[in-house]
């Protein structure tokens, strides 16, 4: 199944500051709940890991990331990730992100991603994948916003990726607290699900 998401997040920072975070792949990964860069192969190629909990299914994707566009002039980044969990699910992601100046001198992060999932995770969790993806992206936006707003004090990402979770408890640690709030993520899923229901009924 394919999940296509487009979002923009207003940032409380200058475009230069926004780009400084976006061009640093480790920083970007640290904003993504459950994600981490595990190995730098060269400046365009990395190995990474994403951990997601979808109801009863716990998935840890390992894969290769290739930066296909890194354009400081346009403040634009594009990356392709491909991987699998080794348990019968494969995933690929095509992610584009840009820093766009806004009229107030600040900027916004504009992103679009196409995630394609195949295998067990789709069979078991297809009904939750959209909502969970949206929640992960929303948290990503919030984390990214927090990071650009507090320059230089940002902690480097933990060695091992934390786990993005929906529908189940996680063991939070101090370091991951801002990037991972299991309850908020779950609540977000429930809320958006109900919104979906009401939306249909009232249209």
């Amino acid at each position: 199944m394919k999940v296509t998401l487009e979002r923009s997040f207003p940032l409380d920072a200058t475009p230069e500051r926004g780009w400084a975070v976006l061009e640093n792949i480790d920083e970007v990964a640290a904003c993504m709940p459950g994600a981490a860069i595990t190995e730098h192969i060269d400046e365009r190629h990395y190995k990474g890991e994403v951990r997601v909990k979808l109801g009863p299914a716990r998935v840890a994707f390992k894969g290769d990331i290739e930066i296909t566009v890194l354009d400081p002039a346009e403040r634009s980044l594009r990356l392709i990730g491909k991987g699998g969990d080794g348990k019968g699910t494969s995933a690929s992601m095509d992610l584009g992100a840009r820093i766009v100046p806004t009229e107030d001198g600040n900027c916004e992060l504009v992103g679009e991603s196409v995630v394609e999932l195949n295998g067990k995770l789709v069979s078991i969790g297809s009904r939750m994948v959209n909502q969970v993806s949206e929640q992960i992206l929303k948290q990503f936006g919030e984390n990214f916003g927090a990071k650009v707003a507090t320059p230089s004090t940002a902690e480097p990402a933990a060695d091992t990726a934390t786990e993005a979770t929906a529908g189940g408890p996680a063991a939070p640690t101090a370091a991951e607290a801002p990037s991972l709030n299991a309850f908020a993520l779950l609540w977000g899923v429930v809320k958006s699900w109900f919104r979906g229901l009401l939306g249909k009924g009232h249209s």
Partner: protein, 799 residues
């Protein structure tokens, strides 16, 4: 010691017609059954399967090093390892081949790619995750109706250039066969001259039989004796033995297949799966027993499903509602490999019984089988080969015609039903229906439920905006495959067999070529022998499933045990009775013609007290025989049926639909079945309850759904619908008895009728509830959500 004469009554005999309690139940309800997964052999290893996450992809590489390095792992097999043995592909029952382990590409999601054999199943499962497979995704074909588009992806590269398939010419790289039956020209003429014609597109969705016990085996090769034993969940152990012998090169006498207790089959356990083959290879290579047991996801995803018929039906009729012609065209989705379970010469099974219970002068059916990126299969899920699809098509079409003519749905059936005096009836498709009284059955049901009253109530409810539907199905099945001149599997005629031995003290053991999976053979076969030989059922042991001891038979599926296996049983018993008559005549010093059979003994006609019981005769068979007669009292019979049997029934269903939520409540379901002679009425009732419940499951929720990428959506019991006692409606059963004239005891088979007949009955009820809104058809399943979507589309859910 001489046996003494005792009086045997119907109570102690428990023969045909008595509701003898099931002999199987004490062990099942005490948890003392012996299923494949209960079998534990010394030194046994466990196999687990690496499966494809992709529906269609090229395999660029498989790295098994990390898996092999895991302590406790004994072997990791891929197609490359099977190639030298020529076992990386295997023949299917349908004349195609199937990859045992994916050879260069995968063609459906969850396809078998590699097999890990390890010390225990936990290590095996861990090792499965360490096998690294590099895939390159290919375009996916899911929609069967687009399979033969010019630009459709090529699924079977191994068939490149093959323009001839097992069933004639292939017209496209995804085309498997075209099968036609009936008189096309006559049908075209009838349609041209018809007062009225109707057409309807219908999907019989892909469903899975989902037996409670998944598939599995324990394969054990004795290197010293060169003997292979495989304990296996198989509905056809003897055929499997032949296949294993052919594939492995082992003499068939060195192969023993044992089907122990089986937790439901419903067609799912007819075929040979890659798991069996790899377990057998592993035990031969490693010299240790190897167990392979599927989990639920594997069972639903990769083993044989049923149906997936995309049907276009048409009827021509005169203005009075007399049907003059029937035409049905089908696109049959067979998945990535044609692994349908059919008699070899019937690529669309017995689908051409689709003229149903109606006297239709001209009929034509055509089925085109196609490949898609879905699991292989196409078995008869609690039905004979493709009967469910055929019955669904005609029972839906006759309702479509009734609505077009604004005619009552019972009236149109009375108008078209084959009349009792027309039997044996020759259908336009060439079948000879054996016996029946269809109008009597329909009358009986309509009276029982007060049909006129129900229609009146429906009219009143409609006026108030409430949705109530009445569904009827007057169906005929063709079961008991079958006459060997037309029916075979891999060249072996579809006879079946029974062997009976009467012991000196008068008890008996019998073995059959069939195999029970819940049908209660251990109970009912004994009743047949009891009635034929006067030996109490409780003294008769029935054994099946061990190919070393049982006579060769084609197995149990397609309601064939009673039409074929029970016939062999009765005839084997009659051979014994014929010998017993000679022994009795000898003992009584009377001529054979002067003695007569009475329940359990031979009596000299007109001489009270001059009699010998079967028990006495059995004793004599081992010590006091007529001159020149060989000792013993046993026989074997291989029965080749002269024709199929044609059980039928009339079902009526009343549903109420909540127009705001889409919830469907089955208020009443009345099922009348005629299966000919009734061997055990209690077991028949149980079979009907089970079949109706599975029919309810199919109509209301079961569907194997794929997304456009070939991902199977819903292969666990969270999603795949198995109704429990909570959801299941109350069933009312009834019967008439019209024996089959060509069957030794007149029995026709019953287990599948309720499944075959109930599904169109549910559909007809749901459509009937919406008919006033112009609905002529609505595809299953009728889950509340799908029904609500329909109501929303029709605007029937507005307050």
């Amino acid at each position: 010691m001489a046996a003494t004469a005792e009086t045997i009554t119907a109570d102690t005999l428990k023969g045909v017609g008595t509701s003898r309690k099931r002999k199987e139940d004490p062990r099942f309800i005490q948890g003392k059954g012996n299923y494949v997964d209960d079998i534990k052999l010394p030194g046994m290893l466990f196999a687990d399967v690496v499966r494809s996450p992709y529906a269609h992809a090229r395999i660029k590489s498989i790295n098994t090093e990390r898996a092999k390095a895991l302590p406790g792992v004994h072997a990791v097999l891929t197609a490359e390892d099977l190639k030298p043995l020529k076992l990386h592909w295997m023949p299917t029952l349908a004349g195609d081949v199937q990859a045992v382990l994916a050879d260069e590409k995968v063609c459906f999601q969850e396809q078998e790619v590699a097999v890990v054999v390890a010390e225990n199943r936990y290590i095996a499962a861990d090792a499965v995750e360490l096998v690294e497979v590099d895939y390159e995704a290919l375009p996916v074909l899911i929609d069967a109706r687009k399979a033969t588009d010019a630009d459709a992806p090529v699924i079977r590269e191994d068939l490149a250039g093959k323009t001839e398939g097992a069933h004639g010419a292939r017209k496209h790289h995804n085309h498997i066969f075209t099968w036609e039956s009936g008189d096309q020209a006559a049908v075209e003429r009838a349609f041209e001259q018809a007062d009225v014609t109707v057409s309807q597109t219908m999907l019989y969705p892909r469903v899975h039989p989902c037996p409670l016990e998944t598939c599995g085996c324990v394969a054990s090769f004795d290197k010293i004796n060169g003997q292979l034993t495989v304990y296996m969940t198989s509905q056809a152990p003897h055929v499997v033995r032949t296949v294993v012998s052919m594939l492995s090169g082992l003499a068939e006498s060195k192969v023993r297949i044992v089907s122990p207790d089986i937790g439901g089959g419903f067609g799912n356990k007819v075929g040979v799966y890659p798991g069996y083959v790899t377990a057998i290879v592993a035990t031969i290579v490693l010299g240790r027993p190897v167990k392979w047991i599927e989990d639920r996801i594997e069972n639903i995803s990769a083993t044989a499903w049923a149906r997936d018929y995309h049907m276009d039906g048409e009827l021509a009729a005169d203005s009075d509602g007399r049907i003059t012609a029937l035409r049905i065209n089908v696109i049959a989705d067979h998945g990535a490999f044609d692994a349908c379970a059919n008699a070899s010469k019937f690529p669309a099974g017995l689908f051409n019984v689709c003229s149903g219970s109606y006297d239709i002068p001209a009929a034509h059916a055509r089925v085109d089988g196609v490949y898609t990126n879905k699991a292989p299969g196409g078995v008869a899920y609690r039905c004979s080969f493709r009967i469910t699809e055929a019955v669904y098509a005609i029972e839906r079409m006759i309702d479509v015609l009734a609505q077009k003519l604004d005619m009552d749905k019972a009236e149109i059936r009375f108008k078209n039903l084959i009349k009792p005096e027309q039997f044996p009836y020759q259908s336009a498709f060439g079948w000879q229906y054996d016996s029946g009284d269809y109008p009597a059955a329909l009358h009986k049901v309509l009276d029982a439920v007060d049909y006129d009253g129900l229609r009146k109530e429906q009219a009143e409810k409609r006026a108030r905006g409430e949705l109530m539907g009445i569904g009827l199905a007057t169906f005929t099945e063709v079961v008991g495959a079958g006459p060997t001149k037309v029916c075979d599997i891999l060249g072996i005629g579809m006879f079946d067999s029974a062997e009976i031995r009467v012991h000196p003290t008068g008890s008996a053991i019998a073995r059959m070529g069939t195999i029970t999976q819940g049908q209660g053979h251990q109970t009912t076969y004994a009743q047949i022998i009891a009635s034929e030989l006067g030996i109490p059922s409780d003294d008769i042991q029935i054994e099946e499933g061990d190919t070393d001891t049982a006579p060769y038979g084609l197995g149990t599926y397609g309601s064939r045990s009673t039409p074929v296996g029970a016939a062999a049983t009765a005839l084997a018993a009659r051979k014994i009775r014929a010998k017993a008559r000679k022994i009795a005549a000898h003992l009584l010093e009377a001529g054979e013609d002067d003695i007569e059979w009475d329940v359990d003994r031979f009596k000299v006609k007109g001489v009270p007290g001059a009699e010998k019981t079967m028990k006495e005769i059995a004793w004599a068979a081992y010590n006091d025989l007529p001159e020149g007669m060989e000792p013993g009292l046993e026989s074997v019979d291989y029965y080749d049926p002269p024709n199929f049997t044609f059980p039928y029934g009339v079902y009526l269903c009343v549903v109420d639909i909540d127009r705001f939520t889409g919830e469907i409540s089955v208020r009443r379901f009345y099922a009348l079945d005629d299966c000919g002679t009734r061997i055990n009425p209690m077991i028949i009732d149980g079979q009907i309850h089970g079949g109706l419940t599975e029919g309810f499951a199919v109509a209301m929720g079961q569907q194997i759904v794929y997304d456009e990428g070939g991902n199977l959506l819903g292969n666990t019991l969270m999603d795949y619908y198995l109704p429990t006692a909570v959801e299941t409606p109350h069933w009312e059963t009834d019967y008439t008895v019209t024996p089959s004239p060509h069957h030794p005891i007149g029995a026709k088979g019953v287990a599948e009728s309720p499944h075959v007949g109930s599904i169109p009955c549910f559909s007809n009820a749901v459509v009937d509830a919406l008919a006033h809104a112009g609905v002529t058809h609505f595809d299953m399943p009728y889950s509340a959500y799908r029904t609500w979507q329909k109501l929303d589309e029709l605007g029937l859910n507005k307050r």
